[in-house]
């Protein structure tokens, strides 16, 4: 009898996919889950005492930016992977707005190869461009990219503005069977926009991005689903109106799914005024809270939370968008859009659980099974904890309190609006295919 890889003892095992919530042990061998149950005994090479911890399926992020190739000063596949593992993610889907953009099989191959060599402890699933060079003019070679391993198509950063081209993309991706992932933004309505078009923009003298810039594209794309037989996924929806449009579409049985980010669920536009500055000025103009789509209002947050609770919104995705310090230490209008989000996602989201706004089970479903389903359980991921399934597991201490110091982040991007924020709820270990991808010092392995 050979020794098993790892035995997790006494965890509260929560698996939303199978509606499991029970205390027990998980025995892992050869990268897969060998057995789940009470009082399992080794022999195992390693044992983790998970008393008081939750074991749930590894988190799956449908939307992140790893910046390689082209912007290695902001992030690399290696540094982004380390940050993702620390955030509890065992699978991340990376957007193709690299340089060059991932708009052909060769660049998809490149990213997959780097990932295999440099980041063995995480699944990195690339998303290919919808259009060549992300320019919105002609379709990319979608079938070849699918064969090379891309799991969806997106021109993230922009919408496909030409509706006819978008319809063709939806039809093509639909026939391949993978989703088109749309960043919803009408560029004419959002032109020169810096933040949400509301009272804070008026106060700060900044140009607003109206909710209608997002909702008009959400509406347009939904109206083309039936015609194109597509799987449409709307990423980082941020407004009450978008939630209502998706809810109505789902009631009609249309194949639309949606995700929302942790920051759109927890922060409003007002963060740009208040910021987290040490020097007292009346207006912070906090560039770390500059993100696209912009942070919205309390009413939008309420609608997004309601959308999570009733299943209108399927998943939570980070839109992890790391930037170098010089991209943010500048005039607000010149600052880059984006938040480095892997390492704060779980802590920020737990505030919603602790305040009773969403159930822990809903939160975990939105980070595991539900996103896995959207990408057709690619690469053997299950989004669940089941016997013979891949051993992608995250251990959580939902009561652990901690304070965010951006300098301690593993991502190269320290651009976070949560600097100095106190969180309750922490990822303490991340296990990918039975190997420990990340562990906090509190975790002892014997």
């Amino acid at each position: 009898m050979t020794a098993n890889d790892l035995l997790i003892k006494n965890a509260r095992i929560i698996d939303p996919a199978s509606s499991t919530d029970e205390t027990g042990d998980i025995l892992i061998s050869g990268g897969v889950i060998k057995q789940i149950g009470p009082n399992l005994v080794g022999p195992a090479l390693k044992t983790i005492d998970a008393t008081g911890l939750i074991a749930c399926p590894g988190f799956i992020d449908l939307h992140c930016h790893l910046r390689q190739p082209g912007y290695e000063n902001k992030e690399t596949i290696a540094s982004g992977s380390a940050a993702a593992s620390r955030g509890g993610f065992t699978t991340v889907c990376c957007m193709p707005n690299t340089n060059p953009p991932m708009d052909n099989a060769t660049t998809i191959d490149y990213v997959k190869n780097i990932a295999t060599v440099e980041s063995p402890n995480i699944n990195i699933l690339p998303i290919g461009c919808i259009t060549k060079d992300r320019a919105g003019k002609e379709l990319s070679e979608m079938a070849e990219m699918y064969e090379a391993g891309c799991i969806g198509f997106s021109d993230d950063g922009s919408s496909v503005n030409n509706a006819k081209l978008m319809a063709l993309a939806m039809e093509t991706a639909g026939s391949i069977g993978i989703p088109v992932i749309e960043h919803c933004e009408d560029p004419n309505l959002s032109r020169d926009g810096q933040m949400n078009d509301g009272w804070v923009a008026a106060r700060l003298g900044l140009t607003g991005i109206p909710a209608a810039a997002e909702e008009s594209i959400v509406s347009r794309d939904i109206s083309m689903i039936e015609m194109t037989n597509a799987k449409l996924h709307l990423t980082h929806i941020s407004t009450k109106g978008s939630v209502e449009l998706v809810r109505t579409a789902k009631m009609k049985g249309l194949a639309v799914t949606a995700d929302v980010t942790p920051h759109h669920l927890t922060l409003t536009e007002e963060r740009i005024i208040s910021g987290r500055t040490e020097k007292s000025v009346s207006l912070a103009y906090d560039t770390n809270a500059k993100v696209n789509p912009p942070l919205r209002t309390a009413a939008d947050i309420d609608a997004l939370i309601a959308g999570l609770n009733d299943g209108t919104i399927d998943a939570i995705a980070t839109d992890h968008a790391p930037h170098a310090s010089e991209d943010k230490l500048c005039e607000f209008e010149l600052a880059a859009f984006g938040i480095s989000g892997f390492e704060t996602a779980f802590g920020a989201l737990m505030t919603l659980v602790h305040s009773g706004k969403i159930k822990l089970n809903t939160l975990l479903a939105c980070l595991t099974y539900r996103p896995a389903k959207i990408i057709n359980f690619a690469n053997g991921i299950t989004g669940g904890i089941k016997q013979s399934g891949i051993a992608d597991i995250v251990l959580l201490d939902i009561n652990r309190e901690w304070t965010l110091d951006p300098e301690s982040m593993l991502s190269k991007g320290k651009n976070t609006p949560y600097s100095g924020q106190q969180f309750k709820g922490m990822v303490v270990a991340t296990i990918h295919r039975g190997a420990i991808a990340y562990k906090d010092n509190s975790i002892r392995i014997s």
Binding site: G198, A202, L204, G205, L206, V281, S282, C330, E331, F332
Partner: protein, 336 residues
């Protein structure tokens, strides 16, 4: 030099009551939102003394002798820059002016790095103008030196707000309940925003008048959120101007028409130009102001700009005096 000495000099040996400036707590002048009425009154008291200095044959006083004031303009300006530089020179300060377009900024240096260099050159205060809203706030959070905002994007122009208020006060004495109409491109106007805060401190009823396309969508909610119930928005100038005590048109940039924000200059003139005919609807003693530079014949008619009720030239003179007062308070330090 103490303020009372300054006033003594200014008033030709006549002794004026000394002003206590012990409570001055501002390191920067970024906008008027955090200035109390008492603080603005203090600035105006000093401005009165400076107006008297400006009326003298020899305008120079040694109040800021040995101090260096830098002006850093990231956007072209002739009026405001000249006004600040003269203010510094009349107070005896040395000035150094950097034209950001021709300096290291053009070579790609960041805002904070450029200003850090000035700070390292040991200047005593930086007067900055910048096309991006909030730029001086970014500076103030990352530097130790005092920053005076000479206009940031569409956000604020506090010295203009002060000189407008000072000019109004000179002529109307008690500003409480007086009706002031700002008309024009409210959306892009830093002058309008600073006037919102200045007028609040003095209980002025402020009407912001503009076509709907030149008012930010969030302005109405901003007025509620910030407790600015002295401000109302009115799209019809003929209504807004009724019983007005002061009317101040704002410069209309011709690009606004290209961007579709107004349908034509001709229509704009018809609906929003401040002219003699419209001023008939205002209070009989109505006064006309303009922050400059003017587009005569567009937002204001020639007769309105140069009539006896126009305070436009006085605004310019008061501008220097107000800026002298600000420099005195911000850079005066031990010399006060």
């Amino acid at each position: 030099m103490a303020l009372n000495e300054l006033k003594t000099v200014a008033a030709g040996q006549e002794t004026l009551p000394a002003v206590s400036i012990g409570q001055w707590r501002h390191k920067h002048v970024l906008d008027l939102d955090d200035f109390s009425r008492e603080e603005i009154n203090l600035i105006f008291e000093i401005t009165d003394a400076m107006v008297e200095v400006l009326a003298r044959d020899v305008k120079k006083v040694p109040t800021l002798r040995g101090k260096t004031i830098a002006t850093m303009f990231f956007e072209p300006s002739t009026r405001t820059r000249a006004s600040f530089e003269l203010a510094a020179k009349y107070l005896g300060a040395d000035t150094v002016s950097l034209d950001a377009a021709r300096s290291s900024v053009a070579k790609g240096e960041s805002l904070v790095d450029s200003l850090r260099t000035l700070q390292a050159l040991e200047v005593d205060a930086i007067i900055m103008r910048h096309p991006c809203s909030g730029a001086p706030y970014i500076a103030a959070q990352n530097l130790e030196i005092s920053i005076i905002n000479a206009g940031d994007g569409c956000h604020a122009h506090p010295s203009q707000g002060l000189l407008d208020l000072y000019t109004m006060r000179k002529h109307l004495k008690d500003l409480g309940g007086k009706k002031v109409v700002l008309v024009g491109d409210i959306m892009h106007s830093r002058v309008a925003r600073s006037n919102i805060w200045g007028s609040r401190a003095f209980g002025i009823k402020l009407i912001l008048c503009a076509p709907p396309t030149l008012v930010p969508h969030g302005l109405k909610q901003m007025l509620v959120k910030c407790g600015l119930d002295h401000v109302t928005i009115e799209h019809n100038l003929d209504k807004a101007i009724e019983n007005a005590d002061i009317v101040m048109p704002l410069r209309l940039q011709k690009e606004r028409q290209q961007n579709g924000l107004i349908s034509s200059i001709r229509t704009y003139i018809r609906q929003y130009q401040v002219n003699s005919e419209r001023l008939e609807r205002a209070n009989p003693g109505v006064l006309v102001m303009h922050p400059g530079p003017m587009n005569e014949g567009i937002e204001i008619s020639h007769e309105a700009a140069y009539s006896s009720r126009s305070l436009i030239e006085q605004q310019v003179t008061h501008g220097v005096a107000v800026r002298m007062a600000l420099l005195y308070l911000i850079a005066g330090g031990k010399n006060r």
